[in-house]
């Protein structure tokens, strides 16, 4: 198992390297840099901008900047935030927690609400319950995240059930988590339903029913067999959650990695931007690794493979 994890992590290193290179090249393609905005500030002289450009290393060539960043990385540092004049790692760590909270909340909703709804729909195929759940999930899938976010914001305003934006208490999490989870949860409802219906139609389930096993035991057996695609989907969902977090964090004033990524790219805070992209990529890689491990725990056939 340890060798498997080690090998997977090792394989991901070239991906991260190529990604970092790509971000650097993209930054070079876009005109302007972190100091460009100051060029339209009458109170800041050209000399001062030139001095700052030199101080921040922005006057160096792109390969030089890249090597500098790689050198920092080799010593365990993630570079420096131009805007906040402090280590990028500190900034990212502060924000990573916020995004992790939302993502975990979204996974809890998927696990505790979406999957059970999918199971209920599968066990009541063709009933009004099934149809209601299907329609609901279709709406959840179709609704753009930004629209859902604004709708929840107004819901918070009209009902006063939870605070409007911010991140101080557990209640502040409710609507951002719901917004973030909505598309993924809807997808999980539909996938769970489909996979379970498929599993319930297998001969071993018919045999189990003929033996007189209670329905919940039958459903559990079927669910364990249907779970692998769901676990795999869970790993892939992390990428979607990170993209959705950008909008959710902006609308709900939630301090997370998504909004930091966007801000650092728009501000051309080079090292913070590249770190954010790489950490997001690493999270996706780790989530997929975790999904593979969970599949191995759930299914002896996968373990043997």
């Amino acid at each position: 198992m340890v060798r498997f994890i080690g090998r997977r992590l090792l394989v991901s290193l070239p991906v991260l390297f190529l990604l970092s290179l790509l971000v650097f090249l993209l930054f070079k393609l876009i005109p302007g840099d972190y100091l460009s905005e100051m060029e339209l500030n009458p109170s800041v002289s050209k000399q001062q901008i030139d001095d700052l450009r030199q101080e921040l290393g922005l006057d160096r060539s792109l390969p030089e900047q890249y090597l500098l960043w790689m050198g920092n990385l080799a010593t365990g540092k993630l570079g420096y935030s131009f805007s906040q004049r402090r280590p990028a790692a500190d900034l990212i760590w502060e924000r990573l927690r916020g995004t992790a909270q939302l993502a975990l909340g979204a996974f809890l909703l998927i696990g505790l609400v979406a999957i059970p709804l999918g199971v209920i729909a599968a066990l009541r195929v063709g009933s009004w319950i099934d149809k209601t759940i299907l329609w609901g999930s279709l709406i959840g899938l179709s609704l753009p995240t930004v629209l859902a976010a604004v709708a929840f914001l107004y819901l918070a305003y009209w009902t006063r059930w939870v605070p409007i934006g911010g991140s101080d208490s557990f209640l502040h999490m409710v609507f951002p988590t719901l917004t973030l989870a909505l598309p993924a949860a809807s997808f999980f409802v539909r996938t769970t339903r489909l996979e379970l219906i498929d599993a319930l139609n297998q001969p071993y389930i018919t045999a189990a029913a003929a033996k007189g096993l209670p329905q919940y035991r039958i459903a559990w057996h079927a669910f364990r067999n249907a779970a692998n695609p769901l676990i795999s989907l869970g790993g892939l969902t992390v990428g979607g959650l990170l993209s959705g977090a950008v909008i959710v964090e902006k609308v709900f004033s939630w301090p997370g990695l998504g909004s930091l990524t966007v801000d650092s790219i728009l501000n051309r805070d080079l090292f913070v931007a590249i770190d954010c992209v790489l950490i997001s990529a690493l999270m996706v890689i780790l989530a997929n690794l975790a999904a593979d491990l969970l599949m191995a725990i759930n299914d002896p056939r996968v373990r043997q493979q």
């Binding site: 060029e39 906040q84 505790l112 305003y157 609308v251 969970l294």
Partner: protein, 589 residues
């Protein structure tokens, strides 16, 4: 229990525990004023009377970059710096006059070159340490430290020479400018006084200190508030400075508010909803005119349209020499752009009224020049400008040799040798600027000029304007300084911000040479009236030559909860928080 279920339960339990534990961080908002220190001598009470206590919640669209006043370049950092620090002399944004502030008196020993200052006795930093001339000296030493890249290093140098400070005692000092310099007093209103004791022993340039992760107890300032806490990505809390030197009409030490909490909220809808629900007390600047109109109907909110700000929206043509590197426009386009009658005509063809009425819902003001009507010191009313007058615009185009080709319903404007007049308008990706660009496009289409709009992200647009200079015309908004001396980089032909044709080695035109001369002279004469006349001539030349077309000034819009009182909204930065020390809650809510 099977491994998978145990794992699942453990995962759910740990996740819940993490979510519950990591949310929630209460701020200790208790604040007791145990004021036993005597008020500094010679302080004249302010004519204000309010109630002590309460918190003002104010949104910022993002975190400040620093808490260091000498590194504060963007408005969020400057706002917090304004509230937590005092400058050597004060510029009152409301009256736009220079005040003594923490200085008891200041006198010129010789004309505009050597200033004698005496600090008020008993003025203390927020940590209780006395302000002395050693702090003044320390501040200037840091500003002029060769290793430092602080915000004032260049602006405080006159012709490359620095200002010298000589302490004459703990409360008296001489400040010597390298030469007679009429905006000298104004320059001193930009110098924040730093507490020497907080920085020593100093290791490195000053801007490396007082960053966002510096503990709050390492800060001290002379402003009405002091830093209490900073929660990254969430908020910054300022608490009243117990040693602030100003007093109200009853002799009680200001400020009235216990705290100002800056909540970081980027989304404008969220800001409006939180104001309406009582989570915020005041919003400004970012308010869209349509939001202000909606908020006017709210029974719990007061709205203020204070008048035109210094934020000017303007349009200009690229007049860089056509052979300059990466020149994007063709030579004939640059010929049109450098044609005075063409520029004047374009100015006459853009309807400011449409922009004000349709885009700002009446909450903006027509601009006549670089100086807005809100600038009480330098605004010139009687400028001869090329305002909206389509007939005059057409006549000017005819005079310049342009003609019209009748092409069905679409008349096409042709230049002297029959080429259709068309150009690209560059602006940044912003809803308001995009709408204004559309008005310009429509207005110019009326006379057969085809304008294509190009919207780019701010830094990319600036890179094109200032770097590659690969554009035809541009539409931008800028907040211009209130003091003419600070506009030299814009107005002088050698200036890096002389946007239509920056950093000229020699003035490209006679009128630019004349402006250079006037701008040099206006910092040398000491008589304000004479300075005003010199700068009035600069404004006249700009109005006549139209190197850029001023369109509108956004109005300063404020929405506040009704119980917030004592607010005096300035038309220049920092607007409603200019006199934060006199803001109070009118009731206990």
């Amino acid at each position: 229990m099977p491994v998978s279920r145990r794992f699942l339960f453990l995962f759910l339990f740990l996740s819940l525990l993490f979510l519950m534990a990591s949310c929630g961080s209460d701020i200790d908002s208790s604040s007791v004023r145990n004021d036993t220190n005597p008020v500094p001598s010679d302080v004249r009470p302010e004519s204000v009377s309010g109630r002590f206590g309460g918190v003002l919640r104010y949104p910022l669209p993002g975190e400040p970059e620093t808490f260091n006043p000498l590194a504060a370049r963007e408005s969020r950092s400057r706002l917090i710096s304004h509230l937590t620090n005092a400058t050597l002399l004060e510029f009152d944004p409301v009256t736009q006059t220079i005040q003594a502030g923490v200085v008891k008196s200041y006198n010129w020993l010789d004309q505009d070159q050597t200033l004698h200052i005496a600090l008020r006795e008993g003025v203390k930093f927020s940590d209780g340490v006395d302000l002395t001339t050693e702090d003044v000296l320390f501040t200037f030493e840091q500003i002029f430290n060769p290793a430092s890249n602080n915000v004032l290093k260049d602006t405080l140098q006159i012709d490359g020479s620095r200002i010298e400070v000589t302490p004459l005692g703990p409360l008296e000092a001489e400040i010597r400018f390298p030469k007679a310099y009429s905006p000298g007093l104004y320059l001193l209103t930009t110098v924040p006084l730093l507490p020497r004791h907080c920085f020593e022993p100093l290791d490195g340039p000053i801007e490396e200190y007082w960053t966002l992760d510096t503990p709050a107890d390492r800060f001290a300032g002379l402003g009405p508030f002091q830093l209490a806490s900073h929660e990254p990505g969430r908020r910054t809390t300022l608490r009243f400075n117990p040693h602030y030197w100003r007093t109200d009409s009853e002799g009680s030490r200001l400020p009235y508010l216990d705290e100002i909490v800056f909540e970081y909220i980027e989304d404008r809808n969220t800001q409006i909803l939180r104001l309406e629900s009582g989570d915020l007390d005041l919003i400004e600047q970012v308010i869209r005119p349509e939001d202000l109109r909606l908020l006017e109907a709210s029974p719990t909110i007061d709205t203020v349209d204070a008048g035109p700000s210094a934020n000017l929206i303007f349009f200009w043509f690229n007049q860089n020499p056509v052979d300059s590197a990466d020149s994007g426009s063709t030579a004939h386009q640059r010929e049109w752009f450098s044609n005075l009658k063409f520029r004047r005509a374009i100015s006459c063809l853009i309807s400011r009224e449409t922009i004000i009425r349709n885009i700002f819902l009446g909450l903006a003001s027509e601009a006549s020049g670089i100086i807005p009507a809100s600038n009480l010191n330098w605004f010139t009313r009687e400028l001869e400008t090329f305002r909206y007058d389509p007939e005059r615009g057409r006549a000017l185009l005819r005079e310049a040799g342009f003609t019209w080709e009748e092409g069905g319903q679409n008349r096409v404007l042709l230049d002297g040798i029959g080429r259709p007049v068309e150009f690209e308008l560059l602006t940044r990706a912003d809803e308001v600027l995009g709408n204004i660009a559309a008005v310009i496009q429509q207005d110019l289409a009326e006379v057969g000029i085809r304008v294509s709009i190009r919207q780019e992200e701010l830094r990319a647009a600036i890179g094109r304007i200032m770097g590659t200079r690969d554009y035809d015309s541009a539409l931008m908004n800028l907040e211009f300084p209130t003091e003419p001396a600070d506009m030299r980089s814009v107005l002088m032909s050698s200036g890096s911000m002389h946007i239509w044709n920056p950093s000229q080695e020699r003035p490209a035109s006679q009128w630019e040479g004349r402006v250079d001369d006037l701008m040099r002279r206006q910092v040398e004469v000491s008589d304000h009236k004479e300075r005003f006349e010199l700068f009035r001539e600069v404004q006249s030349i700009l109005a006549d030559q139209v190197p850029f077309t001023p369109l509108v000034n956004r109005n300063v819009l404020v929405a506040k909860r009704k119980q917030i009182a004592g607010l005096e909204v300035a038309l220049v930065f920092p607007y409603s928080l200019s006199r934060a020390w006199q803001i109070y809650h009118a009731d206990d809510q």
